[in-house]
Symmetry: C2
Subunit: 410 residues, 2 copies
């Protein structure tokens, strides 16, 4: 890859994405194959006078071996030391960078029961950590770098080096990394997103209606006190600015848990438990999923909407123009971070309390009462298309077009 752009990418992540503070600890969650990149982040963090940098290693191949060969009982528990690491660092407000570059088919053919059991054990153990991040207790940033298996999944006709090179180009392009100052590029980008979310927040819509020629027809009520969020966010107490996803093109908020009705067609594959669900439809009635069907991996989709509490309700609605840079790359990335920034999307499961006024310190019970969905999972799926129309309905009944033919009206 281009080394000058790489330097800028690293700088962007540390100075703007995670915005590490002097003496603040940093946790990097990193696949072992991406160690070299974690080392670049470490150096940049220390040179920004961070506190200690810790790495939690992800070992996809080891996970696969464990899922296939380990005895059943290992999946019902979660290592105490991992829980201690994640929760302690989170309590001490360490910033968290997650590097995603997993082969989307890494767990194909593995027992879904085992994966599901294992995920649930982890979700229970890491509840404090997850809740803390989703309410912006500390800065967090999710990003990707190419791995050979991921690059070849996207560009199956290229040799591995060429595929890696091409994926790096796409990553730089969509992350606004070019010959200019990346921090400045992002300041401009964030301003553009803010213009739109300020408009949406002023309208304070009661409902959104999604319609396209695929068959999507969905009425989605927004929760009272919802805040459209996007670009950069701020930590709960210290108000430190950070960017939770790089790239990011989405403007998102929280639907009312029991206020979603109609049918929605997915427009990109969904990666879940290391396998790919394709061409699927979900039907909602008073917020609840009442029907799912998929051309590929329907069973897995059924598992998702019945796996744990709350995965059969929506927790997020996000608007992304069809002409966003990620979308214009015209690639299916098989990676939520990228695909979700190329497409309007919804998420099953946990809502981001930071996108609803008055949620600070609220219990799950209280959140549910407010209409804010709770769950241990949060799974995005993509619904955007080039003919998506979205209309906002105000409390006074007035209809305002938001999207026409896949793009923002304003």
């Amino acid at each position: 890859m281009n080394h000058k752009l790489l330097e800028k990418y690293v700088e962007l992540i540390i100075r703007k994405g995670i915005n590490i503070q002097p003496k603040q600890q940093l946790l990097i969650i990193c696949p072992i194959e991406c160690a070299w990149f974690a080392h670049e982040l470490m150096k940049a963090a220390y040179s920004a006078e961070s506190g200690e940098v810790f790495i939690r290693w992800i070992d996809d191949e080891g996970e696969r071996i464990r899922y296939i060969h380990a005895p059943d009982y290992v999946f019902t528990s979660y290592p105490e030391w991992n829980k201690l690491m994640m929760n302690k660092l989170c309590k001490e407000k360490a910033a968290v960078i997650s590097i995603l570059s997993t082969d989307p088919s890494a767990l194909q053919g593995v027992s879904q029961e085992r994966i599901q059991q294992d995920m649930q054990s982890a979700q229970i153990a890491l509840q404090y950590y997850r809740d803390s991040l989703m309410s912006n207790r500390t800065q967090w940033c999710v990003l990707s770098i190419p791995s050979p298996s991921w690059a070849q999944k996207i560009f199956p006709n290229l040799e591995v080096d060429k595929a890696m090179e091409k994926l790096w180009e796409k990553i730089f392009l969509t992350s606004h990394i070019d010959r200019n100052d990346p921090i400045n590029n992002w300041n401009i980008h964030i301003k553009e997103l803010e213009v739109r979310l300020n408009i949406l927040n002023k309208y304070n819509f009661k409902e959104l209606i999604f319609e396209n020629s695929l068959g999507t027809k969905l009425t989605l009520e927004l929760v009272k006190g919802h805040i459209w969020t996007g670009g950069s966010e701020r930590t709960l107490e210290d108000k430190i600015e950070f960017i939770a996803n790089i790239p990011t093109e989405e403007i998102f908020t929280t639907p009312k848990r029991d206020g979603v009705n109609g049918v929605v067609y997915a427009t990109k594959p969904l990666i879940y438990m290391g396998d790919i669900i394709e061409d699927f439809v979900i039907e909602f009635d008073r917020g609840k999923v009442i029907n799912v069907s998929a051309r590929k991996n329907q069973k897995l989709l059924e598992k998702l909407v019945s796996s744990t509490f709350g995965t059969n309700f929506l927790g997020e609605v996000a608007l992304v123009p069809y002409d966003s840079p990620v979308s214009k790359s015209e690639i299916i990335f098989y990676n939520s971070l990228y695909d979700e920034n190329a497409s309007c999307h919804l998420a099953l499961g946990k809502a981001y309390p930071s996108t609803v006024k008055g949620t600070e310190g609220k219990s799950e019970e209280e959140l549910l009462k407010m209409g804010v969905n709770c769950s241990m999972e949060h799974e995005d799926f993509m619904i955007g298309s080039d003919d998506m129309n979205i209309t906002g309905i105000m409390y006074n009944g007035k209809k305002i077009p938001i999207f026409i033919n896949g793009n923002f009206v304003f």
Copy 2:
């Protein structure tokens, strides 16, 4: 490398080296570059019906970056979660495999004060773990696989692939991996070592005298109740047989802490804190190091013998014939595991309580009183040569030749 031999090497480690028991947990301590090998061990362990296999990753490059760039205060503490992992698994009698394949010069140029501070923090945190392993509370096994930097340190004139290939050959050769059944090879090897240690144990020597033309002249009293150990060992309570080092050619026991007098010349480099000490001499008086000198890295050697309690006394004496397979490879491996099995050696620091009768459950104070050295460190250094003569002095004053010209008399 030869894949058939690799399979046998893995089988040897799991079935004979660590001798994993059904449902027993396994901890693999593995450099991230050697992940593929840890995966082979995982598969073999699960197929031997082990319990869960955990990997603790070692990241040499990350460590180097941390030593160079992190703020001072990070070296005075040790991550609680690592301590929990190691101590908990050890308490539950998980078996422990350590893969050594570090570049011997990995930390060259790094602040020795930082490394020393960091090592001490780790040693304090992991005292229970270290003490448990050194008294054979559970099975443990140390082995090596080639890494590019290590292979090129040994074979600097070969290209990296060739150097790796050659190092694999040496590893298979010295680990008795050939076309025959590796378990059977090792049963024979262990029997041969047993013959010699039985003879030594019967003599129950009071003292050993080491002499060669380099200038070594050392009188080394053995502690009362010492047991010559070698080949395979057994766990303290469950008496599970295992091999602590692969390869292993040494027969070792414990010197009397205050019973060592004279001068000893090192015959191979010593790797300490990621750097290399060469051509050095140590002088002892009543057990204590009273003088050291080294042609290369004398300061580092001085650090070693003054670093923590007990590193200025001996904790181990080991006999290895000059014509051992590791020695006959005529290579300096820059790796204690290999170099110590090519040469008679001594260790500064902690003794193995398992090599002295009546040490079970004894406190450090009691061990010291018995003449068994205690320390948080244990550093081997090599003293064997082709003209080393070793004479045993029995309690009745009788002199018995043990080594003549570098090899066992019996």
